[in-house]
Structure formats: C-alpha cells, structure tokens
C-alpha cells in the first residue's frame, strides 16, 4: 500500500508541483496588493505572468494526461523513479536532517565525525577501519578549514 502510494505520487508529481507553484503565485499576487506601488509593481507583474503560465501548463498536462513525461533535459543519468528509489531518497534527506540536528545540538566537529561514522556503519555497513578513518579525516579537515578560513561554529544547544 505504502509503495503503491509512493508510486502514484512519483508518477503524478508534476501536477501537484504546478498546483503548488500556482498557489504560491496567487498568494504573492494577493499579498503584494497591500504594498506601496514601488514594492508592488514587480511581484504583481511576475505573479500575474506566472499564474497564466501555470494555468497553461495545467491545461497542457490535462490534454496529455496518461503520457509519460521525460525527465529534466539538463539532468543526467538515472531515470529511476521507482517507489524504492523515491523512499531511499527521502531516507537520505532524513540522514541530513539528523546531521543538522546534531550539528546544532552538539557542535560542528563532533557532529561531523559522528554523522560520517553512523552513516557509513548503519546505512552502508562499511568496515570499521575506513569508517573511522573517514570520520577522523573529516573532523581534521573541518578543524583545519576552520583555522585557515576562520570559520565560526554553532554554539551547541546542549552546551558542550
């Protein structure tokens, strides 16, 4: 059931996406009417043009419903749009979210080491040696970059 839902979502993603853009542009058009002329002119022109294009695109999709669309011409490689591929993609976004939470929670350097180690061990079942080596390497790299480029790190929420 879950896989089927993801499958349906992936195949028909383009219509909800255009609808999402359309709603955003209608909001821009509506909200911008309360601005002064200088602040209103450009968003009004852009949103009006965008709404027209979105409606035309929805009309085109309606006329060509059922036909499979090719992917972005500028994107290379995989045409894989299977539910599994989609779910895997979302999983890696979850990994990145976890890293962001760690980054803000315990600080940049420990988070980076922990994230690399956890991703390699838990997700890819990589052997200990390369995993630990890469985790240590990234911490040293960040430390070095921080010194050379005078990067600033977040003050950890957890306070250490």
């Amino acid at each position: 059931m879950k896989a089927r839902l993801i499958g349906i979502f992936t195949r028909h993603l383009q219509t909800p996406f255009v609808l999402f853009v359309l709603v955003g542009l209608v909001a821009v058009l509506t909200i911008s009417q309360s601005f002064s002329l200088g602040a209103r002119l450009f968003p009004t022109v852009v949103a009006a043009l965008g709404i027209l294009l979105a409606l035309l695109e929805l009309g085109r999709q309606w006329l060509r419903r059922g036909a499979r669309e090719a992917s972005d011409y500028t994107d290379l490689g995989d045409e894989d749009d299977s539910p599994l591929f989609f779910a895997k993609g979302l999983l890696f976004f979850a990994w990145m979210l976890a890293f962001v939470v760690l980054f803000l929670g315990i600080g940049a350097l420990p988070a980076a080491g922990l994230f690399v180690l956890a991703l390699l061990k838990l997700q890819f079942r990589s052997p200990w040696l390369p995993s630990l080596g890469l985790a240590a390497g990234i911490v040293i790299l960040l430390w070095g970059l921080g010194k050379v480029l005078q990067l600033r790190w977040p003050a950890p929420w957890l306070g250490f």
């Binding site: 993603l13 911008s32 450009f42 852009v46 965008g50 294009l53 992917s71 490689g77 993609g89 690399v116």
Partner: protein, 508 residues
C-alpha cells in the same frame, strides 16, 4: 582598453589568486570526473567560502571550476562510456570505441589538446568582443536592459527542460522567490512577516546549494555503488592523440568557433553544443564510415567546442548581465556577493575584473589540460571509489558552508527545504536552472522595470529598442527550439544506433 587587459594579467599573477585559480581547476576536475556532479554543484560548494575573499580571487576560483569541468568530464566518457557531465555525451560515440580498442590514452590526449585549444579560442573570442560591444551596450537604457534580462530568462526557460512552459514557470517562480525581503526600490519588507531572517531576502548560497548540491548527492546515494564497476586501462599513445589534434587543426578551429557562437545564446546548454558539433563533423567529413566506431575526429570536434563555449557563455553574462548558463548565473551571483553590479556597468567600472575573468579562463584551460594529462592515472582511479565514501564528506561541507552564510538555524532549515524542492523538481521533470537564474536576476529585473516605469510610464514598451529586442527574442526562441529539437532527435537516433553495442561491451 589594452591597459586594462595587461593590468588584469598582473592582477591575476598574485600568488593567492593563482592558488585560487589552481584550486578551482582541481575542484572542477574532481566534480567533472564524477558523473552526476558538475560545474554547477562545484561552484555552489565553494560559494559560502567566497565571503572575505577579494573579487579577483573569487572569480578566479569559480572560473577555474567552470573551465576545468569540460576537460575532466572526458575521463568517464572515454573510459567507461558514461558522460561525466551533459557536455561530454557525444564524446562517448567515438571516444569509448577507441578505449575498447586499447586507444584510451590516444583519445584522451586528443580530447585534452582539443579542449585546450578550444578553451583558448573561447577566451580569445571573448576578449575580442569586449571592445566592439562596449559602445553598443553603453547606449542601452533601462527599458532595453529590462527586455534583455527577460530575453535571457525566457530563452533559458524555454530551452532548459523538455517543456518550454515548465521552464518558463520555473523561471517565474525564481523571480517570485527573489522578491522575498526588502524591496529594492521602496522602504518595505515583503513576504517576510516578523521573521527577521527573511528581511535580507533568501541567500543565493542557500538556494544554490539546496537546488543543485543536495539532490545530486541524494540521487547518487540512492543509486548506490561505485561510479564505475570496471574500466579499461589507459593504454599508450598520448602523443599520438596530441598529434591527431594538431593534424586536424582546422577542424579544431572551426568547432571552437561554432562552440563560441552557440554558447553565446543563453540557455543552449553544453549537451546541445556537444551534439551539434558531433553532428556537423559527422555530416561534413568526406569519410564518414568510421564515425561511431572510434574516429578521433568524433572526439576532437565536440571537445574543442565544449571548452570554447565557456568563452561564448561569458559574453551575454559579462556584457549584458544575462547569464549564458546556470553556472554563469552562479558567477553573476558571486559578483553580487563582491558588490559588483553585473551588466553594462562592468565594462566601465570593473573592466579590470572582466579581463581577469578572461585571463582566468585562458589559464584555467592550460592548468586543467596539464593536470589531466600528467595525473590521468590517479584521476581515472577516482571513479572506482564507492560514492558512499565521497557523499558524507560533501554533505558535511555543504552544511558547514550553508551555516557560514548568516550562522542562523534558518540557513540550515532553508537549505534542506530547497534541497527537497530541488529533488522533487528533478523527480517531476521540472528544470531547476531557470528557477535559480530567475532568483538571481530578480533584483536586477525589478530595478530595471521600476526605472523604466518611473521614467516612461508604460510607454517604454513602445520604444524601438524594446520592440527590436522583443522581436529578436521571439525569433531566437523559435530558432533555438528548432535547433534543440533537431539536435535531440539526431542525438537519440545516433545513440539508439550505437548504444546496444556499447552496452554489450560494458557488461562484465
């Protein structure tokens, strides 16, 4: 003008700027060789680290990346039959069969030499255009500049994806996202509510990293495995390849010029340039029997055009402030970070910087070629590293880079948000480059529109210059769409004819 040209060379010779140029070339080679990554992602990765750098060093770094990718992407095309980037698809047609015959080194030698000459011709063409274009461009008023911005944006929108409407819609969405924050021509904040973070608008670094870095990493991780399961050895014959290119010097010059001309049309993209040139060389050669079976001319023509096009795409970018490609949009964004206003003013106020860009392009091609030739064996080995060892490093750098923007938690939240948006756009067939370019051009377009409206009311629409540019836009869009459609059909036909053989050979 000549003073500025010479002065720019001395500016670039500063050791730190040369180091940045060299670093850019190294990054460009690394992202060029890994299929799925590319110049755009490489440039997005370094954007956060440009703050505090001087503009000359920053543009040297970015141009280094942009110039090195078209050379390095030849490795996977020749060795594995996989395009390293969209600009090296046609190189596979003859480069890979040459590798199958044990002539990989010869193919690479020919490709790198052709790339070097093409890149230098591109830089030369760009420097030759600047003095002639300057008086014409300085005569433009704000209505014409607004129309030029729209012209560039609409061509990119129409050409970027498979569906012109989707591309245009993405461009308009980018323009709309660019309106968030303080209005450039009125003391008012828009669409920011009480959220102080948004008062300065969304950052280019966050939008670019989100749209172009995260989706690529996620897709490559989801696909899994190493980039190459196996590849053939490089073999011998480097000097034969160099000699091949020098023997076909007129072919190199012809295709470099074609690369520059097509590259100067915003949005034409490297894959179109690549295939157009392959098509031309295959059609116009007397002996066509060996094309698709390992004819070195099939490597030389697209490779010289592919590097020469960088000079072409810089023409609209530097002269009009209209990015010739997505990577050039990133360069424009970087120029704004340095406080440089892209467009005609650059030719008066920042002429030194324009020439530094041209010199960087020329030197980056030289550095890139020599690195590719001298370090070809270790570089080729990069393709065997499983991507899950590369991805965590890139993810950490992306997130650390995004954090440096304003050091606010919202930087990271928007990064992930735009990452998800970019990935969904990729999955749903919506082209992402027009969105980024629309976002970058939004402020500029708004200023031009407001100045035009303020000075001429809506009558600016009837100015002869505006009407001419409008007519030109329609003609250019129609011609470009036709060229793209014909090229795509021809490329598909060529690939359909050759692919089964290549696939069969690729199988272990």
């Amino acid at each position: 003008m000549l003073d500025a040209f010479v002065n720019a060379f001395w500016i670039l010779l500063d050791p730190f700027r040369l180091l940045m140029l060299f670093s850019g070339v190294a990054i460009g080679i690394a992202v060029g060789i890994l299929p799925g990554l590319g110049g755009l992602m490489g440039m997005a990765l370094v954007l956060p680290f440009l703050f505090g750098m001087d503009a000359y060093a920053g543009v040297a770094l970015l141009i280094g990346i942009a110039a090195a990718v078209p050379s390095a992407d030849t490795f996977p095309s020749v060795l594995m039959g996989i395009p390293g980037s969209s600009g090296s698809q046609a190189t596979i047609m003859d480069g890979y069969p040459m590798a199958r015959r044990g002539e990989a080194a010869r193919a690479l030698g020919a490709a790198f030499t052709a790339s070097l000459i093409g890149g230098l011709i591109g830089a030369l063409a760009l420097s030759a255009v600047v003095p002639f274009a300057r008086p014409l461009i300085l005569a433009f008023g704000s209505p014409e500049l607004f129309m030029l911005t729209l012209l560039g944006l609409s061509i990119i929108g129409v050409l970027s994806g498979n569906r012109p409407l989707k591309g245009m819609l993405a461009a308009v969405a980018g323009l709309a996202i660019g309106t968030v924050g303080g209005a450039p021509v009125a003391a008012e904040y828009r669409f920011a509510g009480d959220f102080l973070y948004l008062y300065d608008g969304l950052s280019l670094v966050i939008v670019a990293l989100g749209l172009f870095a995260l989706p690529e990493i996620v897709d490559l991780l989801a696909r899994g495995g190493a980039i190459a399961e196996r590849a053939r050895g490089l073999g011998h014959g480097w000097m034969d390849g160099v000699r091949d290119t020098l023997r076909h010097k007129w072919l190199v010059i012809r295709h470099s010029v074609i690369g520059v001309v097509i590259g100067a049309i915003p949005g034409m993209g490297s894959s179109i340039i690549d295939w157009v040139n392959y098509g031309i060389v295959a059609q116009t050669s007397k002996d066509r029997s060996r094309f698709g079976k390992g004819d070195v001319r099939g490597v030389i023509a697209p490779e010289s055009a592919n590097n020469a096009k960088e000079g072409g795409v810089l023409m609209p970018t530097l002269l009009f402030g209209v990015p010739g490609s997505s990577a050039m949009a990133m360069l424009l964004g970087a120029l704004m970070i340095f406080g440089v206003q892209p467009g005609p003013q650059m030719l008066t106020r920042d002429l030194d910087l324009v020439f530094v860009i041209i010199w960087s392009l020329a030197l980056a091609n030289v550095f890139g070629t020599f690195i590719c030739l001298l370090l070809s064996r270790p570089i080729a080995r990069l393709t065997f590293v499983p991507f899950h060892y590369i991805a965590p490093v890139i993810i950490v750098i992306v997130i650390v880079g995004a954090w440096q923007e304003t050091r606010h938690w919202a930087d990271l939240a928007f990064l992930l948000g735009f990452g998800l948006l970019g990935w969904l756009m990729k999955r749903s067939g919506m082209p992402r480059p027009p969105l980024l370019i629309g976002f970058i051009l939004s402020g500029l377009a708004e200023r031009y529109l407001w100045m035009s409206y303020n000075l001429y009311d809506w009558e600016w629409l009837t100015r002869p210059g505006v009407l001419t540019i409008g007519a030109l836009a329609v003609a250019l869009i129609v011609a470009s769409v036709r060229l793209k459609r014909n090229t795509s059909q021809r490329a598909e036909a060529i690939q359909a004819a050759e692919r089964p053989e290549i696939d069969k050979e690729s199988r272990p």
